[in-house]
Symmetry: C2
DNA sequence: TTGACATAGTTAGGAAGCTAACTATAATCA
DNA sequence: TGATTATAGTTAGCTTCCTAACTATGTCAA
């Protein structure tokens, strides 16, 4: 079927397919690591985003924006994280519509324990590439990501 | 936080993050194209796999295996495709446990209409890379995909 | 040849994302 | 100032994936 199309499109198609495969494979691997900490990638990213803040605090809508999910999804993620004691919600005295989400000590501990496992996974997954290859690869990825359709 | 880890891990981590981002972005774009044909990527892949067979037929378990989803998921995908008239189920006279799934003419038509749109998407998404870059990129992707942990 | 195991498909129920509609609060401007 | 509009978060219901358990059929060995 690929033969019905000119060379460039076939190359691009293969690239897309491989990227989709690799992306989903990496996601599965990440979830497998996080499972041991009773997390999925959605909640993990929330913790990472909070941990990156100077004060470990953010609004749900900011987190949703940064993570690229809807506010509705963020509500669910925060609910679960709150149940797990990894995060707490505080009312915002300045704006009654808002909630401030804060990383708890338990949450920060968990990040500290899980993060090295994530680094190890990344290292293992990319171990077939030389440093120079990694840099080229990253440059190409960023070239593609910047294109907005 | 990246600074807490040696150089190679930071590079690998960035690569993983970018790959995850790009993978999910491509998936969203693909779904957006397929939406116009009342399909999601799950059902689309089933159609493609069937179309690739000489006789446009396969067992659900084979399709599940090739697509990398569970048989339970495949049951759902085939149900929906059958409702849409794109596929039909035939009993296997040789083995009462089996079903043969067959692409209908309507299904083949739809593949013929949707495929060029998918090629166009792939071409557009990879347009920032030169042919030579695409080849290197593909080689690297395959290097990584082969690693099985 | 029949009892144990294996295989193909389905069903039931759960997780995590989405959109659309809703509530409560804040901001704007006539 | 009071009516409209905008914003933050939540809720409800859909989708598509998953696992585990089930049904029906086939296979094999005592």
């Amino acid at each position: 079927m690929l033969k019905d199309f000119p060379q460039l499109e076939a190359e691009s198609m293969m690239l897309c397919i491989r990227l989709l495969m690799l992306g989903s494979e990496l996601l599965v691997r990440l979830d497998k690591v996080l499972e041991q900490f009773d997390l999925g990638h959605g909640r993990w990213v929330v913790l990472m985003l909070l941990r990156r803040r100077r004060v470990w605090r953010a609004l749900p809508s900011e987190l949703a924006q940064e993570q690229g999910v809807t506010r509705a999804t963020m509500t669910g993620l925060i609910n679960k994280l709150e149940q797990q004691g990894l995060v707490r919600r505080l009312p915002d005295p300045e704006d009654g519509r808002r909630n401030v989400v804060e990383l708890t000590d338990a949450g920060a501990d968990l990040v500290a324990r899980a993060l090295p496992r994530c680094y190890a996974l990344a290292k293992r997954s990319m171990s077939r590439l030389e440093l120079e290859e990694k840099r080229m690869f990253l440059a190409m990825l960023e070239k593609i990501i910047l294109v907005d359709v």
